[in-house]
């Protein structure tokens, strides 16, 4: 062991101690909030998953029976399939569209800030309002979509109640909603790329498409990776848009569009079986963790931090 690495233990001066105290005081609000609202519920949730918990949080220990039940759950495969399908469709398409929009808005044309605002609007709109408007668009009798299709002689249908189309409708809304937010992050990344690379490439005869793939994409890869990883985690946790657009009580498509989080909600808040619901959420936590680890390992192959 080298001399320099040896830890020298010495008494901290009064001044240093005071600095520590100040440091802890500064991080206290966030830490306390995190402990109360994230760490504690997580531990409680973990504990609940080994208990039979009723509506009113009265728990009786039941070992791993919640997990046994989960692996016999008839809807598990369907919910996993829907969740994966949702993630695999919305994240790449959303990312590609955001990249396209971001690079268009990064060019020197008039009115970019106007368009940036327009594209960002879905992110600052209440999701309930968004769901309501899209429900009207997809409405079987009076929807705009069917009216437009009718002009071209295509017969429309009730998109949100058809089990084959309902999930795709939700996906379209999700992609539409995510473009603005992703675009802002990607745009920030793009503006960090020095113009001199593009100038040099242009002199060497590279067109805009070649520049995009040879300069923008590699230099933007850390940002793309960030957008992808947060997007995937979000997609695996999708709940609100499905719940609001496909009503659990009246919509006949509901049983076919269940995702893992919808399954969780159903058990926790419709049936009052919170122990079982906790097991579902722990299972999802493990799945998301594994996928994120794979991504973190895989990123070494394509993400360029230089």
């Amino acid at each position: 062991m080298g001399e320099g690495k040896k830890k020298v233990r010495r008494k901290a001066s009064r001044r240093e101690k005071k600095d520590w105290v100040a440091g802890y005081v500064f991080i206290a609000p966030v830490t306390i909030g995190l402990l109360i609202f994230y760490v504690f519920p997580f531990i409680q949730n973990f504990w609940f998953s080994f208990n039979d918990v009723n509506k009113f949080n009265m728990a009786t220990f039941c070992g791993i029976s919640n997990y046994q039940r989960l692996f016999q759950e008839p809807d598990l495969m369907l919910a996993m399939k829907n969740t994966l399908l949702y993630a695999v469709v919305t994240v790449p398409i959303g990312l590609a569209l955001s990249l396209l929009v971001a690079s268009l808005l990064n060019s020197k044309i008039k009115g970019t800030s106007f368009y940036r605002t327009i594209y960002f609007l879905p992110s600052v709109t209440m999701s309930v309002a968004v769901a309501l408007v899209w429900k009207l668009i997809f409405h079987g009798d009076f929807g705009i979509l069917n009216t437009v299709l009718g002009i071209f002689g295509i017969e429309g249908q009730s998109w949100l109640t058809n089990p084959h189309t309902a999930l795709f409708c939700v996906m379209i809304v999700a992609i539409w909603g995510s473009v603005g937010y992703n675009m802002i992050i990607l745009l920030a990344g793009m503006q960090g790329i020095s113009r001199s690379y593009y100038e040099a490439a242009a002199i060497d005869g590279a067109g805009p498409v070649k520049q995009f793939f040879k300069i923008t994409i590699p230099l933007l890869s850390p940002t793309i990776f960030f957008v992808m990883i947060t997007g995937l985690i979000g997609a695996f946790q999708v709940f609100d848009s499905i719940y609001m657009m496909v009503d659990p009580v009246t919509n006949p498509a509901f049983n076919k569009v269940k995702t893992m989080n919808v399954l969780f909600y159903q058990n926790a808040f419709m049936y009052g079986e919170k122990g079982y619901a906790a097991a579902i959420s722990i299972f999802m936590f493990a799945v998301i963790m594994i996928i994120t680890v794979i991504q973190l390992v895989g990123q070494k192959k394509w993400v360029n931090y230089d």
Binding site: A22, V25, F26, P29, F56, D141, D247, V249, P252, G272
Partner: protein
């Protein structure tokens, strides 16, 4: 010095954030100040009813100046989730508006106060003064957990304009299900405008439509001791079939259409000629259709008059800080004085026998008598502790039948074993 000042500011900031955080966690101490004043909180979900509940509370405070009652309005969609959370945290409202679908579960979990003795000591006499199905509905294992508040029964609401345009005679009391179907067919044959239907029979509208027919037909959904469902019974299936036929024969919108626009809105929008609904919908229908619709008794089924009754009650939280005051107020809410105030408001039918008729005078142009005439022939809305889970099973199969993918018999026979398994699980606990 300057540095110390900065630290001081930081510390101050931290302290304020900290206290706000903690303030959010601690339950505020409700009422009970030193001068003997007590404040009770009463939960309610219906904004149409909040004003009259306030009136009742004020009338009580006039007689009992030391008690004030605050109403807490939470919309239906969040009401039970919020109540669940507050009951879990031990801070449920003192007076809880309860329905029959939830009372057993809440009573079992010890959230509600047993009012049996208090009722016996008082002169309320619930068994004499209130309809029996309602009192039974709020009695769990022989103990009374709620003072009946109001009730609802059902009737057929018809849109006069649609009938006039089609040249079909208005329906009349004393008609049969066959007459009802005939009227639907006549309306259809007369040529209704695009998007207008003779009626709407939704999959989840059992309470207003086919549930009663099942009972009239001698079928049932749950047996006496909640150990078995009656979905496979011939009488049950035959009680539902004619209603489903209306959908399959195009006399009602399809299930998809009723999902995109719920039938209540369709009726309010003048898209339905006839619609089965409860008396509680009158204020909503009056918003768009006042004077343009009539009410007629439900058609009899196989010559039998049946209807489903459902009603709310006032329950008391077992954790209330003022048990005596809360109990006294809950019992008072069942008194003639309180139920008269409620009855006169016209929002609901007061549960108390001697106050029910007050409802008749509230909308003089409507034939409200049918709602009261139904009472002796009513069955309480079928319910048990796992209603939510059972309805999800029913939904899965009935929806397929409603869309014509499977027959009703196939649907019912598939519901039976799954529903029975859920009951077994409930009874094993």
């Amino acid at each position: 010095m300057k540095k110390n000042l900065k630290k001081l500011v930081a510390l101050g900031l931290v302290a304020t954030t900290g206290t706000t955080l903690l303030a959010g966690c601690g339950g505020s101490d409700k009422g009970g100040s030193k001068d003997g004043k007590v404040e009770l909180v009463m939960s309610v979900w219906d904004s149409d009813q909040e004003p009259v509940m306030k009136q009742m509370a004020e009338a009580y405070s006039k007689e009992n100046p030391n008690v004030t009652v605050k109403t807490q309005l939470t919309t239906w969609n969040e009401y039970w989730t919020k109540l669940e959370a507050s009951a879990t945290g031990g801070s449920a409202p003192d007076i809880i508006t309860m329905n029959v679908l939830h009372v057993e579960e809440y009573a079992d979990a010890g959230i509600l106060m047993d009012l049996t003795d208090a009722e016996k000591e008082s002169d309320l006499k619930v068994h004499d003064n209130f309809p029996a199905p309602l009192v039974d509905g709020y009695t769990v294992e022989g103990k009374l957990y709620g003072i009946p508040k109001d009730f609802d029964t059902n009737a057929v609401f018809y849109n006069k304009e649609i009938f006039d345009q089609a040249g079909v005679a208005y329906p009349t009391d004393g008609w049969t299900f066959e007459d009802f179907r005939k009227t639907c067919e006549d309306l259809q044959a007369a040529g209704l405008p695009d998007g207008v239907y003779p009626t709407a029979i939704n999959r989840n509208s059992g309470q207003t439509t086919y549930d009663a027919a099942v009972f009239a037909n001698g079928g049932y959904f749950l047996n006496e001791d909640n150990t078995e469902t009656g979905w496979d019974k011939k009488e049950t299936i035959e009680g539902i079939q004619p209603w489903l036929d209306l959908v399959l024969d195009g006399l009602s919108p399809t299930l998809q259409q009723m999902t995109d626009t719920d039938p209540d809105s369709m009726f309010q929008g003048g898209q339905l000629a006839m619609y089965f609904s409860g008396n509680y919908m009158i204020p909503s229908y009056n918003k768009t259709l006042e004077g343009k619709y009539g009410i007629v008794k439900r058609p009899s089924f196989n010559g039998v008059d049946k209807d489903i009754i459902n009603g709310l009650a006032f329950s008391v939280s077992a954790n209330t800080k003022h048990p005596e005051e809360a109990k006294d107020f809950a019992l008072w809410l069942g008194s003639k004085e309180a139920q008269e105030i409620q009855g006169k408001s016209g929002t609901v039918i007061s549960a108390r026998n001697d106050c029910q008729e007050l409802f008749l005078d509230t909308h003089k142009d409507l034939n409200l008598q049918v709602f009261l005439d139904n009472v002796p022939n009513t069955e309480l809305l079928p319910h048990c502790k796992v209603t939510a889970k059972l309805s999800q099973v029913e939904k899965t199969y009935l929806e397929q039948a409603w869309q014509g993918e499977i027959t009703l018999e196939e649907a019912c026979k598939s519901i039976k074993p799954e529903a029975d398994a859920i009951l077994d699980e409930m009874n094993a606990k």
